[in-house]
Symmetry: none
Subunit: 194 residues, 4 copies
DNA sequence: ACAGGCGGGACTACCCGTTAAT
DNA sequence: ATTAACGGGTAGTCCCGCCTGT
């Protein structure tokens, strides 16, 4: 059994995917857990605090962990990234596509409205970019990757287009759109090989 | 002097870029126009109707018109697209980057919440995709563009990554991020030449 | 029939005498007028704004008007003040004594909590002090009042003790306490004659 | 080191001076003492009970003790009272003036709202009045004080005006206002001599 | 076409007090 | 004796949209 705090965090995270952070009605969410507002307020004094906790404890770990292993990957980073892209395609069900990427959703909604959110999301993006950039740099050393590309910039392009794919799929409401864009990204990836 | 309806539409469009559609407060907008709520509800029965009008009359024309000429462009579509991308980079000031792309903003926020919005935005995306695809198809006929690429899919990838660039720039809060991703896209474009 | 705004102001003023400003439940008060919260918010965006309006439009005029005529009084100001004191005693019913003086109540409750209130109440006190001081000064010129007293300071003492009387009567819950203090004040007044 | 109960009492007394009794937030006080609510409610079942304890154990002893010695004072009570008034002026710093007299604050706020408070505060006032009245009566016997004044009523006037001085100083936010009123009271006192 | 008073409802914040556990 | 999770109720704010009137 999850402890109350984790339950609150988890349910609100789910609600956030459906309605956006501003659309979350925190008291209604906890009600569905047969938890009362008293408990909610005990753990999170404000809705903002709750939102920050969701980013820090659920979203950030999940996303940074995804690309982190690339930093120490011994083989060809292009193959690694391709594998990861296929993995994302595989877990992106029809329903997932409609809900969008939690990170992207939050970025678009909250970045301009709240600095605390923006800084947190910025940091997640930067960390993912770092991991991919380090992977590419190692790939250059091992002559898997072309020397004339800038690893940091290329990393940002990959991350950015990945989030773009989620955004498009959300509006077009289907996973094939996601796969189409991902296959474009893979094409691009192939051009990076030596 | 703009007529009242156009003023309402324009001001609400601006407010939407800053706060999102749900963040728009009719009272505040009305106040800033020194008109009253009576006038607002005379023209738009609900907030939703107002939102749809903004999409139909401001956003849709602007975005579809942007890529439409490519359909009848006589030269190399890859050059045309590059020029358009540079144009977007040029008009993307620091402030614009922070506000994000109105289309992308709305897609992320409203697609899952309201079908009317989603269908409209979907249609805009599809039309842009069409225009670019037709351009690429023509390019293939004229042997400017590689025959082995799928114009429709490639068009979606380009549009998708473009929106991704706007999304990233919004969170990272700077236009150089936008330019970095755009230069990645240009690199990709170059690989499409015969 | 009073207009809605005046009704709201008046009823909340009465509630303030009973429960203090913080104790006022503005929505409950308007409910008793069969007015809704919507109307309340239309006229007063916040409770604070409502409170300020009560001070500015009800309390301040009433209190400053009370002493104002003394400024242009032709006769002996000491007699005038005595008459006014008797007038206050007369209208101070048992119930009024228990409710206390609206000005004094608000001063004690809100002065340290809210600068907007404090400045407004300060101004009322100062204006009353001014009126009494001018009256005494004129009385000195006409040789009704001793030359060796300071009119401004004496005026403050009178106002202060008057408010003290209301405070004591409120706690002791009877009007005779009020009259006792007032008769002490009248004794003091008599010592000011030439 | 103070025991927990005394600490709670003391901190809440301080908070009461700043925000009034209703403005005291148990959570905040408890936090500032680094204890928990459990400890608070172990000693005081309700906030009301806590308030009563503050009156009974802190305020009442302090105020009644202040005037008690006058009952058995051998010399001229007018001189004694003058000395006491000067003493109060001396300890009334700028900051004290702004916070007001704890007794007066509580009287104005709680008398009409809670009978338990009112009775306790009433009793404090009455005891102070008694002490001063006895002092004046003894002064009459020793021919220090005029025979034609009513000691009980005069005592109430003195106490009342003293509280009035605290009230005015609180709103005017300065101690000179307090001194001005006190000097008026001393003038009055002098008229009581034989 | 427009003005604006007003209805009605929802949500966040907030706080007093309880209870099970130690 | 003390803790911390928790219950439950409510005030204040806020906003969409209706409706009457001009």
């Amino acid at each position: 059994m999850m402890d109350t705090r984790t339950q609150i965090l988890q349910k609100n995270f789910e609600a956030m995917r459906l309605n956006g952070f501003q659309g979350v009605r925190a008291d209604k969410v906890v009600e569905s857990l047969s938890i009362t507002k008293g408990a909610l307020y005990h753990y999170f004094a404000t809705k903002q605090e709750l939102g920050y906790a969701i980013v820090d404890e659920i979203i950030a770990p999940r996303f940074t962990a995804f690309w982190k292993p690339l930093e120490n990957y011994g083989g060809n980073p292009i193959d690694y990234i391709k594998t990861k892209f296929h993995e994302l395609s595989a877990i992106c069900t029809e329903n997932e596509a409609k809900l969008g990427c939690p990170l992207n959703n939050l970025m678009q909604e909250m970045s301009p409205l709240d600095d605390g959110f923006r800084e947190r999301l910025q940091s997640i993006i930067t960390q993912m970019q770092q991991s991919v950039a380090i992977g590419l740099k190692n790939g250059q050393k091992k002559k898997f990757v072309r020397k004339d590309i800038d690893p940091t910039k290329t990393a940002l392009f990959l991350i950015s287009s990945l989030e773009g794919a989620y955004g498009i799929a959300k509006t077009l409401q289907n996973r094939t759109a996601f796969e189409t864009v991902m296959s474009g990204l893979v094409d691009y990836l192939e051009t990076l090989r030596t």
